[in-house]
Symmetry: C2
Subunit: 374 residues, 2 copies
Amino acid sequence: MARRRRTLCALTSGSLGVPLPSRKPADAAPAAVARPRLTVMRDVAKLAGVSHQTVSRVLNNHPNVRQETRERVLEAMRSLNYRRNLAARTLVTRQSDTLGIIGFETTLFGPASMLYGIESAARDAGYMVSIASVRDLDRKQVLEAVDRLTQHSVDGVIAIAPKQSVTHALAQAPPSLQCVAVGGSGESDAAPTVSIDNAAGARLATQHLLDLGHATVHHAAGPADWPESVERIEGWRRTLYAAGAVVPPVEHGWWDAESGYAQGRKMAADPAVTAIFCANDRIALGVLRALHEAGKRVPEDVSVVGFDDMPDSGFFVPPLTTVHQDFGELGRRSLALLLEHMTSSPTADPQPPDRVLVTPQLVIRTSSGPSPAL
Amino acid sequence: MARRRRTLCALTSGSLGVPLPSRKPADAAPAAVARPRLTVMRDVAKLAGVSHQTVSRVLNNHPNVRQETRERVLEAMRSLNYRRNLAARTLVTRQSDTLGIIGFETTLFGPASMLYGIESAARDAGYMVSIASVRDLDRKQVLEAVDRLTQHSVDGVIAIAPKQSVTHALAQAPPSLQCVAVGGSGESDAAPTVSIDNAAGARLATQHLLDLGHATVHHAAGPADWPESVERIEGWRRTLYAAGAVVPPVEHGWWDAESGYAQGRKMAADPAVTAIFCANDRIALGVLRALHEAGKRVPEDVSVVGFDDMPDSGFFVPPLTTVHQDFGELGRRSLALLLEHMTSSPTADPQPPDRVLVTPQLVIRTSSGPSPAL
DNA sequence: ACCAGTTCTGTGAACGTTAACACGCGCACC
DNA sequence: GGTGCGCGTGTTAACGTTCACAGAACTGGT
């Protein structure tokens, strides 16, 4: 565990208001004595026979540079292998071409995909991304993350923020810092939000099962305090209600297969259950196993539908019918929204939207079939 | 698709040597006219009745500050809600407290977990991380990523780099930039590497199956050009060889369930196959499904062992015996190694190691059992 | 030839921090 | 009572950009 040369910021910076005094304890090694002296604008300028300002203009695509001069400068840059010093530029312009991402549970497929979607879109737009993970979504940790990102002077923040507490915390960020939340709820009271239309997805799944002749549809739900979970429950419930079907009771769990297995065992024991809509594919995996162990065939005895369309859900036993969620698109859209908010002046005419919904799609495989009652 | 205000760097910067002329096309909005004038050292200094340099000393934990003065300064910082401007600091010290990560396939569980492991360890060590994803692992893209990170003056780079081409590319990075590769091969010719002991893992799995009485073990392999895959094949092959067992032919595939399914179907058709070691859990999922469809029971007829221990592999049908890989640890170790390389002077006595191996562990569940021949 | 209006280019001053050095003070040591 | 040293502090100069302004070099019309 090499934690040398700097103290733990987490410990030294007690409250948020206190800047972190860290780094370079007394015994630090003396700074490298011979600075490498990298090539800077002045060098390029000298070689090209112009002033540093002209070099700057070329770099920033300023129109008022003679074509011939521009080429001479570009040639000089090339031959010196010049790269502009972004720190200096950030110092004066106060923008770093860097975006911050607040990540939560980024080891899971969904968040990881959003992260990737954001990052590649950001690169195409000329931005770098820095990431600050949080272990929990409480206000304190989120604000700490915002603070860390602010210190590194990011131009904007995207929070992969599946819970309300985050958008609330975001509202406390310095107003000059644009924030966008992605994933999670739509009740965008605080920050602009991009998310999937969870209710629509749930409707798709539930209606599909009703259409197959099932009298009603049971639901293996996610955690009670996650908006995504709540919205899926709502969508499911409303669809049943609209169809005049009984709405079975809901039991909350976590997002993993273990939770699905637990819920699945209970449902497998109930002969009235012929169709199960699962809050995500991992839960579905657990349900599938529980049904298998109970000797129920899928889809002959019980139909199962998931949510997410994880990479391998087409290879579950049997291949899972599920609601496809385009996480990459979610990421890209959130980046686009952030950029819009960043560039539009507060008084601009077309205010960017505060809420973007991405529509999910049903992917029908073999885990769903006609009701055995038919 | 909001890509306003800046041109696409990817397009304008043809070769690597050319700095990117981007941003602010002629019609750019004039810079914000009223700069907010944030609080800086001088403000703190004035309030505390000292010079800015003393403030700097307090911030950097310099020992030569009287306790009473230090407290007055800290108090001033607190009351002004001062935060140090990292861009200015980076400009003069040439270190940014930021590390770069080159990510590949970060939507998958393994890389995503490493990313997370690196990020949290980095935070504890006082570093921010910036991420640069690459779509492919060819030299060009990797060098481009390094270049992007360099421009943002990262202090070091960790490459989630499962292929040789990456470490080779890394070797071409500016020598002042410390690089570490994580995951992938151990043939660390180019850059220091942290990886799992794939051969040992494969040995664990294979030996486990042999010990269960299987005459030999078949292998559902990963891609031929990935060192991780190759090392697992080697470990498997050597174990069989040492036991005097027949070494069945190997067919290469990809890392996903689809590939496992394809390989599994062929194996299911071969009655001689009683034990299958899969290059990862996703392949195992496909194999499991193929066996199930062919009417083979697991583990009664055929035993299956995976690699990775993905989150839900304990809920496959049946629960998968697999080789557990601690991705988070991998990330932490790679960070530690990078930090060691960064801080140790080239002439220092204890040179940091160039190769760190993390030992995997066998997790026995129910997909593996005694050979049916017994 | 002159002036006004562009277009192009250069000069000097920020930006907010750390590095290098100089200074004054108190203390110990001959 | 110097001399030397360590401590605490202040002054000045970097670091490599961009911004604001001034000036030079071209236009084109009289």
